[in-house]
Symmetry: C2
Subunit: 684 residues, 2 copies
């Protein structure tokens, strides 16, 4: 448990110094300036006093118990220091010093040595190569960190691998009007892990929102499960860097972590209930709002503007980000018409006109908050010199205090109206400088509501004969299993497939349906059609016999299967792959060029919910090819969803399956179902 790290009773600073340009000096100063509630022990071999505090030559000389020691000494000295801390009974060391795994070679060996020493004494290591931690809870007020931005309490906690990024988040939260709750910048994260920190922040009642910066993910499945639990009560936001190859290379020299591919990040975050952002600015903007405002119940936004052009920009951006302009009730419109000036526009967006005063704003916000069709309110305002803007700010602040719906403001003004802006911010209302920024924030808040709802969706359970499937898999060899076995597994989960039987000795299997297809069945033949291993349109037993003779000549020693030839439908592909550390990943896409050449596929982690399957299907760009158009009937999407759910169930039930490809699956018109016509299953 990390409580001792974030709520230490006493902190010692190893490497403390009177040199103002040193990290050790800065840490002591930060602890003092921010009123750490416990004793601070500077450690220095010679100095008697540092920054007015009594200094000790060694951690072993400190009189009382010490929970946390920060270390900023030469890297080669660190293992010994950790050992000393162990002897002292220290619980956590925060190692600022760099020059470890991120440098490779000797650095990695040093890191191993310090970890070994820590383990021996049961000391937990935070870092190395890290900035440190902070906890702004006034009961603790610990700034065990060498950075420079003042600590100010807030509802959002910061969890960043990079110190620079953590700083950037803090800087901007502060600029928006508050600070953070807890702050962790981990650097190499060689012992205390991201998941532990996440769990700790997740259990903290003072944290409403967690903003994460992720460069590399370890124990991804555990991360996902933690997030899913936490995201039901707190909003989780993340930015993932190292998306490009060039960046991944730099990451490794930065914190010594190996970058994984970014391609699964969206899928992982979606399953974890984490809102992903592409830029830091967008994450902070949304994070601040989620930490300080209620979550909107849905996507219906009402816009209030006192200048037309920016109001229109806000509409564009809201609509572009998937929000809906709320339809105001007749009652709301009547209230606005009666209370605003005649030139006002009483539709949504409500244009209260440039002359609108405090009373006009109060009336409008009150009416919109009461309107059942409105989920959130976005105010975009300029500060006309002929209006008492301070009074307007008071009115907005007052309304926000009473409102049950989130209020987000855009104030376009200059430094002369600084106090107007401060009044609005003071009420916990997020204030942005551009209409588009405000609109994106409201959209992100609505997305978070959606995420919360999705976390409540139960995984669908599909009846399947697990024992039968396990028996088939148990008997099959490792690697690609025989076709008949693969179809047997599908059958155990009720997945509709073309009737398929092994053909041995050139005799048509009993009950063969014609027209039939003869296919080679060998783990060595991956692209069967390309290799000439598929013969279509076989009309009768005689034809089958001939085809078999030809093929068994071409593929000596291979097995063969005979399959009923299904009518053509729209071809889709469903895949399952167990990813290291992540678990079973499902893939869906249209067959042929759509998957291979155009990469138009959707991914999800198993288990899928029913609604999740529906979203997975609807996510591909080529969806219009399934929903019907001139001369083409709509495909049976219900059957496609049921197929995905069955594959999800199978993925959960049968960990022996490493990989499975249903390619192609024929999809028929609505009501006529789907049929798998080719399958490959790879066993562990």
């Amino acid at each position: 448990m990390l409580d001792t790290l974030f709520r230490p009773r006493a902190v010692a600073v190893l490497g403390a110094s009177n040199n103002t340009f040193s990290i050790g000096n800065r840490v002591v100063k930060n602890l003092i300036t921010h009123n750490f509630k416990g004793p601070i022990y500077p450690i220095h071999p010679k100095e008697a006093e540092i920054l007015g505090l009594k200094a000790y030559p060694s951690i072993l000389d400190v009189p009382g118990p010490v929970d946390v020691v920060t270390i900023a000494v030469k890297s080669t000295l660190v293992p010994q220091m950790v050992e000393d801390c162990g002897k002292k009974g220290v619980k956590f060391v925060i190692i600022h010093t760099a020059g470890f795994r991120e440098m490779g070679g000797e650095g990695a060996r040093l890191e191993d040595a310090l970890l070994e020493a820590a383990k021996r004494y049961g000391v937990r290591v935070y870092g190395p190569n890290c900035q440190g931690v902070m906890n702004s809870d006034p009961e603790v007020s610990v700034y065990a960190n060498f950075t420079f931005t003042p600590m100010r309490p807030g509802n959002a906690s910061i969890l960043a691998q990079s110190g620079g990024v953590a700083e950037l988040l803090n800087l901007n939260l502060r600029r928006m009007g508050s600070g953070f709750r807890m702050y962790a910048s981990q650097g190499n994260a060689s012992d205390v892990s991201t998941n532990e920190l996440l769990e700790y922040f997740g259990s903290d009642p003072g944290t409403r929102t967690i903003m994460m910066h992720i460069e590399s993910m370890k124990d991804t499945r555990e991360f996902i499960e933690s997030c899913r639990r936490i995201a039901k009560g707190k909003s989780l936001l993340a930015i993932r860097t190292g998306r490009s190859k060039a960046a991944a290379k730099a990451v490794s020299s930065h914190t010594g972590s190996l970058m994984q591919q970014d391609s699964l990040t969206d899928t992982i975050f979606e399953h974890a209930g984490v809102l992903r952002f592409q830029t830091t600015e967008e994450m902070i903007s949304a994070g601040y709002a989620l930490a300080n405002q209620p979550v909107p119940a849905g996507p219906n936004v009402a816009i209030v503007a006192n200048a037309g052009g920016p109001g229109i920009m806000a509409i564009d951006e809201c609509v572009g980000c998937g929000l809906t302009l709320a339809t105001l009730t007749e009652e709301t419109k009547a209230t606005l018409r009666a209370g605003l000036i005649p030139e006002a526009y009483v539709e949504n967006p409500v244009d209260v006109a440039a002359t609108a005063n405090a009373e006009h704003f109060r009336l409008t916000l009150t009416a919109l908050d009461a309107d059942p069709g409105v989920d959130s309110i976005l105010v975009t305002m300029v500060t006309p010199p002929f209006v008492d803007c301070e009074a307007v700010a008071d009115a907005i602040a007052e309304c926000a205090g009473r409102a049950t719906k989130p209020i987000v403001c855009v104030v376009m003004t200059n430094e002369n109206w600084a106090s107007t802006v401060e009044k609005i911010k003071g009420a916990g209302i997020p204030v942005y400088e551009f209409p588009e920024s405000g609109a994106r924030v409201v959209a992100a808040m609505a997305r978070y509501r959606e995420v919360q709802k999705r976390l409540e969706e139960p995984p669908a359970t599909v009846p399947g004969d697990r024992a039968a499937a396990e028996a088939i898999l148990g008997a099959a060899p490792g690697g690609y299993i025989p076709q008949a076995d693969a179809y047997g597994v599908l059958g155990a989960y009720g997945i509709p497939a073309a009737r398929t039987a092994p053909m041995t000795g050139g005799r048509a299997p009993e009950g063969t349906l014609y027209p039939a297809v003869l296919k080679v069945d060998s783990p060595d033949v991956v692209h069967k059609s390309d290799a000439g291993g598929v013969e279509l349109g076989i009309a009768d037993d005689g034809g089958l016999q001939k085809a078999w003779e030809r093929m068994s000549g071409a593929f000596p020693g291979a097995g063969f299967v005979v399959q009923e030839q299904c009518p053509r439908g729209t071809e889709i592909i469903v895949g399952l792959k167990r990813e290291e550390g992540v678990g079973p990943v499902l893939m869906f896409g249209l067959g042929g060029v759509h998957v291979e050449a155009l990469g138009d596929v959707s991914f999800r982690l198993a288990p899928l919910s029913e609604a999740g399957a529906a979203r997975m299907v609807r996510e591909i760009r080529s969806l219009p090819l399934l929903t019907g158009s001139r001369g083409v009937p709509a495909a049976d999407l219900g059957a496609v969803q049921r197929l995905l759910l069955a594959v999800s169930q199978l993925a959960v039930d049968l960990p022996e399956i490493e990989e499975m490809d249903l390619n192609p699956v024929m999809v028929y018109p609505e009501g006529e179902g789907v049929k798998v016509v080719d399958v490959r299953i790879r066993k562990k």
Copy 2:
């Protein structure tokens, strides 16, 4: 010419008032405060003095000549005021008053009345329902506008339909460190047009960049031509609002303009050489940089960071926006290795480390500016408390003064380092708060360079027998012309098409090639195949005879053509449509579902350049289907480009063609060309 509007010798204010909460008061105050160089004449029926200036009861009482009159009186009085101005010999009236066309009905009639009065006297009207103009040129210094943000000179001019948006642009230019050169917010724009303003700003030597906000476009072709001329020397940036249906509705109640569809905007801007932005913030960020820094010669960016995480974010965003990380020369790396601390990372991004001082930054920036592989430099820095950041700022400013390449900075800091930031800004270096913002700016600058290059590309000229095509078109009836004529037009421009001949009286045309296709040829049959009007695979004269009998029964009175049946290739579609006010728009896409269901098409305006045709082909998402993949050879893209250029030439030469569809065109493997197998041409 608008010189008198932006460089008036004298300004009168109609509706001037001593009431501080009135627009007329504000305008007089703005003119005084910003030191307008000419006389200011407040007009008021009773007051003798306004804000210390002598007031006149009527414009006709003003002693000297007046170039510009601003009007802020009741809308019903405006026509009479304009008439008085006419009598006085005023050149321009700026009408702030609202309540005209944007209100419909009586408002529109009032607008007509004031325009009529103006026309009678040769007075030009700016507005109505507008904020006004400004010119920060110190020789003039005119603030004929009622808004509130101080005027400060800069190199970027602002051209916005909405006053609120113009204000937003000004506010933020100022926040970045400068102001604007000229400023025009036009409101209803009933007389002085966007194009006139654009031309005027384009001819102003003090304007380096023009930032536009566009809600509706009139005379689009003229706008395009103006832009193309201006964009060679100045950067043109634009944001188009009213993209969504909801926004378009609000626009119309805002300035009375009818919104056009947004779908062509990208095409228009691309042809015009205008950089389009989705958000105001991005436009201002990039506009400021383009107005104050050199244009990068190419996409190769070098990043300098003193904190790892933000540097990595910058890489991600740079790469994501299409920039390339410059490869540093060995010489550069040697210089950096010798001059920086050993922990520094001397690849790109250059991580100078948190301890980097002024000398380290100076050395790095100088080396990168000298490196021939570097086109632009992005610095992302935090302000470590243990570094003399003021000295670092001085070093950056000094380097920027000498640099031949653009330098863009990201400074992540708080108010304690305000003077550090000011020092950098003071050198004309754009400073942003987030790594991603800086990266996007560099990318936008590189995009502008690309735009400039494209403007130099000459339109391709394709030899065509224009006279022959004109003769065919001249003889053809209006509407859809007969197939044989359409193929004749294609032939005149050397466009390869399936051999096609009209079939009359049931006899095979001479030289018919088999297998052949018989097609109905009638303006009434749009989807020929769906209607049963195409018969494929006809083997000989006898078959053709039979097919003709069947079809002439099914389509009595229709014409027919016989066509050689071309081998299948990849089907593409090429279209041409003359858009009202815009001119000939070319369309390209893959045939079948790709165009209709998936909307995967690219558009360009004619005339096309050779490189433009190549880009047009490469823009579609389904391009991989043309560039070859497993088992499928690459298509003859050169032939596709030649086809597009021929259609472009035809569009320019033959204005009688209102619409043309080549659908489908078969594209064969590299070296084997294309063949049009169906064409429709609609004549005016």
